[in-house]
């Protein structure tokens, strides 16, 4: 589905990514782990075209889209839940959901009803403006908004930031369901143990480089990594 090869990116003179490579198959859940400022978001943004990669390839279903504008890349079936939510403040909750909604590949799996079913709280607030929501509600909205584009690959940057435990659990259940439906998922989150429970593979970034990648069993088994990233 998605293949990243030798991705490099920089902000002005300061290079942040130094040749990131990984791949995600359809129906696969992959995580990006790493401390603050290691380049996780930059990786995601480079894939989406929000940051113009300096080198490397971003191949979606066989086509190299590196350097193309974000809307073209998104149209290939990528749905982004950005870091910091980035809700449209002057749109109501419902407008946030439908404004960019699309279904580019067959019958829509995600509709307004289904989103509201997943997050009843959003339905209660559907007429409110985006910036009137609480932090957690905004996060739900950002996830709903991305799902409404009916993507093949969902990218969640800080997937459960600000969400209450109950909702967090809902999200995990939902993501598992998505996975079952054959959806690919790229996820960044700090709840590593929860991720370990259902993600297929993990990639650890350090200073813009992939320092480790492997499956959940390997991650949980490795005591050094465990100490470093799981804090258990």
């Amino acid at each position: 589905m998605l293949k990243v090869e030798g991705l490099e990116a920089a902000y002005g003179d300061s290079q942040v990514l130094f040749g990131i490579s990984f791949a995600i198959a359809a129906g696969e859940v992959v995580t990006l782990l790493g401390r603050n400022g290691m380049g996780k978001t930059t990786t995601v943004n480079s894939i989406m075209g929000l940051v113009r990669p300096r080198a490397g390839r971003v191949i979606i279903e066989g086509r190299d889209v590196a350097g193309e504008p974000p809307h073209r890349i998104a149209k290939c079936g990528l749905g982004l839940v950005p870091e910091g939510r980035q809700i449209f403040p002057t749109l109501s909750v419902e407008e946030n959901l439908v404004a960019t909604a699309a279904n580019r590949f067959g019958p829509p799996r995600w509709t307004l009803e289904r989103i509201y079913g997943l997050f009843p709280r959003l339905q209660e607030r559907s007429r409110n403006m985006g910036n009137q929501l609480s932090g957690g509600e905004q996060q739900m909205l950002a996830i709903g908004r991305a799902l409404m584009t009916n993507p093949k690959l969902v990218i969640l940057d800080e997937a459960t930031e600000g969400l209450a435990p109950l909702i967090r659990q809902e999200i995990w259940i939902c993501l598992k369901a998505l996975k079952q439906e054959g959806e690919a998922i790229l996820i960044i989150d700090k709840n590593v143990d929860a991720l370990a429970a259902f993600a297929d593979r993990h990639i650890i970034l350090e200073k813009g480089r992939v320092v480790w990648s492997g499956n959940s069993a390997a991650l949980v088994a490795d005591p050094v990594l465990k100490d470093r990233y799981l804090h258990v």
């Binding site: 974000p70 950005p82 439908v98 960019t100």
Partner: protein, 306 residues
């Protein structure tokens, strides 16, 4: 003061309001909704009027003239967008101010070079040249009714476009966070281009419509630009409804203030002082109105929901 006069003046106030809204409509879209400070709106309005004057003179018919002027205004807007404005969407408001100020200077001068400095005019189209009797001795040209109707129609159209359609939502979303809209799969650049062109055409349309009652002259948009900004700000930026109501309010306050202000003042002051004060206050009226509205409602009458 007779009651008829009061009634007629109220009507006049409302019609000035609708006229102002007609002119402000394009600005509401581009500035209020797209969040682009387009000082060049006034010159786009002027160009619409000049195009209408030119094509009407060429074809001898206002409607042919209008039909030619509108696409030209659209094309002109698109050219401006392509060469200048699209590079400024992501910039600071003040950058937009400086660039569009430059455009004002250029176009005001260019218009003078092309069409000369003397004012031009456009005759009222034949079929609308009649008038209705408003009060004894005073006629009301039907064309003004047409202007009011088109102002109302545009208010409605814009209101629906912005609040009810996907395009409206996307434009509002793009104004606050264009990259995010793009990352969700919408070509926001093209959308902005279309909307901007539409805004330019609205400005041109306003210019063309008022050409039969107002003079067409270089710089005609400059003072109006300020007036339209006043309208939009009083209404609350981003609110079409606000802009519409504010336009009516400005029209009413201006018209009624001018016609009845001095006699009201005379109730409090001696005649000489009243006329002196009245004269000093009259031109300030709408500014006083704006300052007062902003004092009590710092984000306009209908602030965008925050």
């Amino acid at each position: 003061m007779s009651l008829t006069l009061l009634y007629v003046q109220t009507l006049n106030g409302l019609q000035l309001g609708v006229l102002l809204f007609l002119i402000a409509a394009g600005l509401t879209l581009v500035f209020g909704v797209m969040d682009f400070v387009n000082l060049a709106h006034g010159v786009q309005y002027m160009i619409g009027a000049y195009l209408a004057a030119m094509f009407t003179a060429l074809t001898g018919n206002f409607f042919f003239g209008l039909a030619l002027a509108l696409p030209c205004a659209l094309l002109f807007g698109l050219l401006l967008e392509f060469f200048i404005f699209r590079h400024l969407y992501a910039r600071d408001h003040l950058d937009q101010v400086l660039a569009t100020f430059g455009i004002i200077l250029t176009l005001n001068q260019a218009v003078k070079v092309i069409w000369g400095a003397a004012p031009l005019s456009v005759p009222i189209p034949e079929i609308f040249s009649g008038s209705v009797v408003l009060m004894p001795g005073l006629l009301y040209p039907v064309w003004r009714l047409v202007i009011i109707a088109s102002g109302l129609a545009i208010a409605l159209l814009l209101g629906l476009l912005v609040t009810k359609t996907r395009i409206g939502m996307l434009v509002r979303a793009g104004a606050t966070n264009a990259p995010m809209v793009s990352a969700l799969g919408v070509d926001i650049g093209r959308l902005f281009m279309i909307v901007f062109g539409f805004g330019a055409m609205l400005a041109g349309f306003a210019g063309a419509m008022v050409a039969p009652i107002l003079s067409v002259e270089p710089g005609m948009g400059d003072n109006l630009l300020i007036l339209t900004f006043v309208v939009i700000v009083i209404g609350g930026i981003g609110s079409i409804r606000g802009a519409f109501i504010a336009a009516l309010l400005v029209g009413l306050v201006d018209t009624l203030g001018r016609s009845f202000g001095p006699s009201i003042l005379r109730a409090f002051l001696d005649p000489a002082a009243a006329s002196q004060t009245g004269r000093a206050l009259a031109p300030m009226l709408i500014y006083i109105l704006m300052a007062a509205v902003l004092f009590f409602r710092p984000a306009g009458l209908f602030p965008a929901k925050k």
